[in-house]
């Protein structure tokens, strides 16, 4: 680091760089988004082909009869499927972000990381509780909508502390979530678009904008 400044342009640049680096989590990798999207698409395909028997079982109305309790076949497999997608997606996000931080010679666990996680987890955990309550009260028809909306709110909330794409990904998820509440029959499709396709689209965009050019 230079000690004396003679060039105001360089000074301004240094100020901007430090402000950004000290307030934002820049280790988030687009690859994490792509990987999470692929996990979600696989999970949605498993749900469609195996659990819903290629559409023989409809998501709404009908489903209510099938999920009499979390222990009944379909409810259990759907929950297991969703949980596996979540676990793999989170592991992927940690792995790719850790890798990006290491490559850039940055620390992974910093103030910005903690701040990002806190703002992400607050709406996410709240939504998680609401969704569990819906499931245990045997009201599964709004589960997909709530998943998308709460995830979207979490991303918008956390978006202030990382790349701006996360903010827009969050807005997209909220819109999809509201659509999923209106078109309950298309819940699984909208879930696959939100958690699958959109992660891949935004992940690719982030990768090309922030990682490839170097």
């Amino acid at each position: 680091m230079k000690t004396n400044s003679s060039n105001p342009n360089e000074d301004i640049q240094a100020i901007r760089e430090i402000m950004e680096r000290s307030s934002k989590f820049l280790s988030l990798s687009g690859l994490a988004g792509i990987f999470a999207g692929v996990c979600a698409l696989v999970g949605a395909a498993v749900a469609w082909f195996f659990i819903f028997d290629s559409g023989q079982i409809r998501y709404s109305g009908h489903l209510q009869n099938y999920i009499s309790s979390i222990n009944s076949g379909i409810g259990f497999y759907l929950a297991l499927d969703a949980l596996l997608v979540l676990v793999f997606a989170v592991l992927g996000a940690v792995y790719f972000s850790f890798r990006k931080a290491k490559k850039a010679g940055r620390q992974f666990w910093t103030n910005s990381t903690r701040r990002l996680l806190f703002h992400l987890m607050l709406p996410l955990v709240s939504g998680g509780f609401i969704i569990l309550i819906l499931i245990f009260r045997n009201k599964p028809d709004m589960v997909i909508s709530f998943m998308l909306v709460f995830y979207g709110l979490a991303l918008v909330n956390a978006g202030k502390f990382t790349f701006s794409e996360i903010h827009y990904l969050g807005l997209t998820q909220i819109v999809l979530g509201i659509l999923a509440a209106v078109f309950i029959n298309y819940g699984l499709l909208l879930w696959a678009i939100g958690f699958g396709l959109m992660h891949i689209v935004y992940g690719t965009m982030m990768f090309y904008r922030h990682e490839r050019k170097k």
């Binding site: 000690t3 400044s5 100020i15």
Partner: protein, 98 residues
């Protein structure tokens, strides 16, 4: 036209002090380790620059214990923030007049 140089703050001539202050403008408080990590400095080097900023009342220091470990956190004072803004305006004017 007045000379923008007069508004440049001597204390921010140092890129390191400028860096510390930039970080404290966007974070309410930062502890010693966070600053060290952010700026990639040695303990001694960072401490001496922090001392200078503290003496000029640009930053405020508070010491507390987290569990049994002492922890020192730093924040920008109102005076410090004003001086930093003045410095930024002066830098901008310099660039515009080039």
């Amino acid at each position: 036209m007045k000379n923008p140089i007069t508004n440049l703050q001597k204390v921010f001539d140092s890129r390191i002090r400028l860096g510390i202050m930039s970080a404290l403008m966007v974070n309410d408080t930062l502890d010693f380790n966070a600053l060290k990590e952010l700026l990639g400095l040695t303990d001694g080097n960072l401490a001496s620059h922090l001392k200078t900023l503290e003496q000029q009342k640009i930053i405020a220091v508070s010491k507390q214990f987290v569990g049994r470990k002492p922890s020192t956190t730093f924040k920008a004072t109102e005076l410090g923030k004003n001086l930093f803004r003045k410095h930024l305006v002066a830098l901008e004017e310099l660039i515009n007049n080039q």
